[in-house]
């Protein structure tokens, strides 16, 4: 039930504190009440209709690069 998915912010409605997000090609409206400091183009983690955290692209790349290097060392 804690399933959460990444989505890209397409549009922000500041009055309602809502955003339109692209989740794998599907558009959805989500609340930004729990994660207000986001900009269009950024990715957020979405749970039960809410953005619950910004996804840190740099950290994601760092993890992947580390894993790639480690796999090449084999």
């Amino acid at each position: 039930m804690c399933l959460s998915v990444p989505g890209k912010i397409i549009r922000i409605d500041e009055n309602m504190n809502m955003a339109e997000v692209d989740v794998g090609g599907f558009l959805r409206d989500i609340s930004l009440d729990l994660c207000p400091d986001v900009s269009v183009g950024e990715y957020v983690l979405i749970h039960a209709g809410f953005a619950i955290q910004k996804i840190d692209e740099e950290e994601a790349m760092e993890t992947l690069n580390f894993l790639k290097k480690m796999a090449e060392m084999e």
Binding site: C2, S31, C35, A48, G49, F50, E74
Partner: protein, 359 residues
């Protein structure tokens, strides 16, 4: 999909599996606390990819599964009131209570509606001012802030017909209870990534400091899980016990402080009853005095005395003491079409995962 496909790379996975094989020198048992991990682990066949001496045990991290019959019976009783619309997450519909389920009650004509978000309950309440709308509030720390926001909106909008049947739970106290039990043998924990997105890593420090077990906050894609296992194996082999974060792209040490504040605006920490684990101190919430009017437990209903199926082993499965294969009902009597206990109902339940993926 970005942030998903990259973390499913087969070549890197093979490299990680070799690393795990090289680092692992002895038999260990690791618990994946979260039901979403259980499903991922089965879906990607991770149990079969890692060395056989590393055993993965499923834990209590399925909110539907740990909801006690007394709360399910309460929701059922409320749904029987003619003036009530009961609103719930879908997973809860088929979970058997003592003598009925919400699905059966719906078939009997009760107004029970499935929603994806707590905000949908607000809409239903606005559209049905002559009804009492009750949201069956279950979930762990990932979901609690979303419920708290709905409650804050309800209060702000002065919605007088929206109520919450609170059965939410907190994960770290359940891990504490498992560690205190002599029946559970766990060398390390794969900690839930999305609960930790909200609470961060500090609430787990007791696992390392008091119980000297390593734990790694882990994401849900195959590379995340394999890296998490590798980090745990290394800690165990090096004699370390630390709380590490593998899922760094969304989990920070401090979690999501705004989300945590919203929860504590509405609720205070309280004991909670868990299926299989009993009453656990500080593992749940109760409404603060200023939000009492939103508590569905103030609505009068007669609730039956809770009963459990005597043969159902869901409680022990949730603690990692038994696997579904050790339950006499598994497959023969109990299956996803005709579930006896919640561990077979929920898509994240250990019994359903075994049923679907373990041939």
């Amino acid at each position: 999909m970005k942030f998903i496909d990259e973390f499913r790379d087969g070549g890197i996975a093979r490299g990680l599996i070799q690393k795990i094989e090289k680092s692992s020198s002895r038999p260990i048992q690791l618990m994946e606390v979260c039901g979403t991990h259980t499903v991922s682990i089965f879906r990607y066949g991770i149990r079969k990819l890692i060395p056989p001496q590393i055993q993965l045990i499923s834990g209590p991290g399925c909110p539907v599964c740990v909801t006690p019959n007394s709360d399910i019976d309460y929701a059922i009783a409320l749904s029987r009131r003619k003036d009530v619309i009961l609103v719930t997450f879908g997973d809860m519909m088929r979970v058997p209570g003592s003598t009925s389920s919400l699905l059966k009650e719906k078939a009997e004509g009760r107004d029970i509606r499935v929603v994806y978000s707590s905000l949908d309950a607000l809409k239903i309440a606005e559209e049905n001012p002559d009804k009492k709308v009750v949201f069956f509030a279950i979930g762990f720390e990932t979901t609690s802030p979303t419920i708290a926001v709905a409650i804050l909106h309800a209060k702000e909008e002065r919605l007088r017909n929206l109520f919450f049947l609170n059965s939410q739970k907190k994960i770290p106290p359940a891990i504490f209870t498992l560690l205190q039990s002599k029946r559970v043998k766990i060398n390390g924990f794969i900690l839930p990534g999305h609960v930790s997105t909200i609470i961060g890593s500090d609430p787990y420090q007791f696992i390392a400091k008091e119980f000297f077990r390593p734990a790694v906050i882990t994401g849900f894609e195959p590379l995340d899980i394999l890296q998490g296992i590798w980090m745990l194996v290394r800690q165990i082999e090096e004699g370390r016990a630390e709380i590490e974060i593998q899922y760094k792209r969304v989990v920070h040490k401090e979690g999501n402080p705004l989300a945590l504040r919203k929860v504590l605006e509405v609720f205070e920490i309280n004991q909670a009853q868990w299926r299989g684990l009993g009453w656990i101190p500080e593992s749940g919430y109760r409404f603060k005095a200023s939000f009492q009017e939103l508590d569905a437990r103030n609505l009068y209903v007669e609730v039956e005395t809770p009963r459990e199926h005597p043969e159902c082993k869901c409680g022990e499965v949730l603690q990692g003491i038994k696997t579904p294969l050790q339950c006499r009902l598994f497959r023969i009597v109990c299956n996803p079409e005709n579930p006896v206990g919640p561990c077979m109902v929920s898509v994240e339940g250990t019994c359903q995962a075994y049923y679907k993926f373990q041939s």
